[in-house]
């Protein structure tokens, strides 16, 4: 599902909106400087930039891991600075996050790791078991379901982490260097997986070093020293300057 090419959508068509956002760690320098953009619902976006440019920091703001030091962030049409703390878990269930270090729980097998978001949401085991199994088969982990994370290869861990991020069909998928540890071939396959999800309606944003992974048609945002630039020829389906 792709949004309308003409950008006069109502507010709730935006998954994420940043307005003049600045962010610093503690009392340090701003690592994000006056960042403004909008991610349209159902868009596919890539965020690139040199190491230390602030990509991970920008994503942390999106998945509510940090607060901005200035500016306004709107998530699913809600001002994040006004969100009641009790509502944060509910918002978090609407997004899937893949981090570079995978964050798989070491004592849970692949199946349990991937099922975790459903289990936490109170879904009965009978109700999610088949979904988890078929997703694991789809990402090529069908025969590794009972393996514990320490016994997985880098690429397998990555696919498990991605499966966990998408199992509850999130409205937004946020991935920080999801292809960081794998070779080109697997990297391309993982990106295809994200595109597939995007086709099903999920807004996707992926931070990566690797420009060659960006498929045509995706929006390409660039961070440099905390300053964001978005190409002017953007067709309106993805990120846009505010």
């Amino acid at each position: 599902m792709s949004s309308h090419p003409l950008s006069t959508q109502p507010e709730d068509e935006d998954s994420i909106r940043f307005e003049h956002v600045g962010m610093r760690y503690g009392r340090g320098e701003e690592v994000l400087n006056d960042v403004s953009f909008t991610l349209k619902k159902g868009s596919m976006n890539f965020l690139t930039g040199p190491s230390g440019a602030g990509k991970s920091s920008l994503l942390k703001l999106m998945y509510l891991n940090m607060r901005p030091s200035r500016g306004l962030i709107t998530l699913f049409g809600q001002d994040t600075s006004q969100i009641d703390i009790g509502a944060i878990p509910v918002l978090k269930r609407r997004m899937g996050v893949v981090l570079q270090d995978f964050r798989l729980i070491q004592h849970l097998n692949v199946f349990e790791n991937v099922a975790l978001p459903l289990r936490v949401a109170g879904v009965k085991r009978d109700a999610y078991q088949e979904n988890v199994v078929s997703l694991l088969k789809w990402v090529g982990l069908g025969d590794r379901m009972r393996a514990l994370p320490p016994t997985l290869s880098g690429g397998e861990k990555q696919r498990a982490a991605i499966a966990r991020a998408v199992i509850s069909k999130p409205e937004i998928l946020i991935a920080d260097e999801p292809t960081g540890n794998v070779d080109m071939e697997i990297g391309k396959r993982l990106i295809r997986l994200f595109s597939e999800l995007n086709r099903l309606g999920t807004t996707v944003i992926i931070a990566t070093h690797d420009l060659s992974l960006i498929p045509s048609g995706a929006t390409h945002m660039t961070l440099n020293n905390g300053v964001l630039t978005i190409p002017e020829n953007d067709n309106g389906s993805g990120a846009a300057n505010v």
Binding site: Y63, P89, L91, R93, R103, L108, V120
Partner: protein, 299 residues
């Protein structure tokens, strides 16, 4: 249809036994053992002191020195006492026993016939009645009898003081042991949580409510606190049971060792240890998880 049909149960999010918690578990078990011993000792010191006290309070010892004129002085004293309504019974100490009490000082040589051994009467009285010793002694004297009465007042006062000292020490020891337990539990909980920080973060990231995570950890730590307390308390009870068997032949009132066969009270008291430990552990985990989530994970 699926490969997971034979997976009857979900893996626990927090496995009950993890090697990283073991050293602290052992420390807590030992502390629980000590706490149980000290708690039961406090209880037994109170009940033993009470029964000794009662024995002392309700007995008088009357020492009658027979003279040449009145050789049956002891019998006369007895009959005076028997007429008192508050006297329950009178027992005369066997003269041979009296002699044996003197043996350490006088040796085994028989006493010369003209030296009469005093007769010792043990008089038990109705509880709660204070005999006026002076009145009693005057009465004996007026009857021409040489008898002195001891209500163990001095002894009783000294006894009370030393019992109080022992009890104070025992209670102090218990408080210290329990403070150590509480501190160790809080420490263990924090260490256990920091070792599982990623689980807390991930649960938060995938949308678990703070209560869900707090409950998960709270249950798990309450359970291990309970287990440590239970093992410690059971070990203490077993040891007391066997010590009780060994000392069973000792004189009835010499009960320094808590007697766990004397009804369920001691066992119930010992059961408090694991229950309270579970409570402290559960509460501490609950608080620490919520604090972690609100301080660090919710910016």
């Amino acid at each position: 249809m699926s490969e997971t049909d034979n997976w009857d149960k979900a893996q626990p999010l927090l496995p009950a036994n993890s090697p990283q918690d073991r050293p602290m578990f052992i420390i807590l078990m030992i502390l629980a053992f000590l706490a149980t011993l000290s708690l039961l000792s406090i209880k037994s010191s109170f009940s033993t002191a009470k029964s000794w006290q009662a024995e002392l309070q309700n007995t008088l010892t009357v020492q009658v020195i027979p003279t040449v004129e009145i050789p049956d002085a002891a019998e006369q004293v007895k009959s005076i006492l028997e007429n008192k309504p508050d006297v329950i019974s009178i027992a005369e100490l066997d003269p041979e026993y009296s002699a044996s009490l003197l043996a350490p000082w006088l040796g085994e040589t028989p006493l010369p016939d003209d030296i009469q051994l005093p007769a010792l009467l043990s008089v038990s009285t109705l509880p709660g009645q204070e005999f006026d010793i002076d009145v009693l002694e005057t009465e004996f004297n007026q009857a021409g009898l040489n008898a002195s009465v001891d209500n163990h007042q001095q002894w009783s006062t000294d006894f009370k003081k030393s019992v109080l000292a022992v009890q104070t020490l025992a209670i102090l020891a218990f408080i210290l042991i329990f403070t150590a337990i509480a501190t160790a539990i809080v420490f263990a909980t924090r260490a256990g949580l920091s070792g599982r920080r990623m689980l807390i973060d991930v649960l938060h990231q995938i949308g678990a409510a703070p209560d869900y995570t707090a409950k998960l950890f709270s249950r798990r730590f309450a359970l291990s606190g309970f287990k440590a307390g239970l093992f410690g308390a059971i070990a203490a009870l077993i040891i007391l049971f066997f010590l009780g068997l060994i000392t069973a032949g000792a004189v009835g009132s010499m009960k320094f060792i808590p007697d766990i066969k004397s009804g369920p009270a001691n066992i119930l008291l010992a059961a408090l240890i694991p229950v309270v430990m579970a409570g402290i552990a559960g509460l501490s985990a609950w608080r620490t998880v919520l604090k972690t989530l609100f301080d660090e994970v919710y910016p």
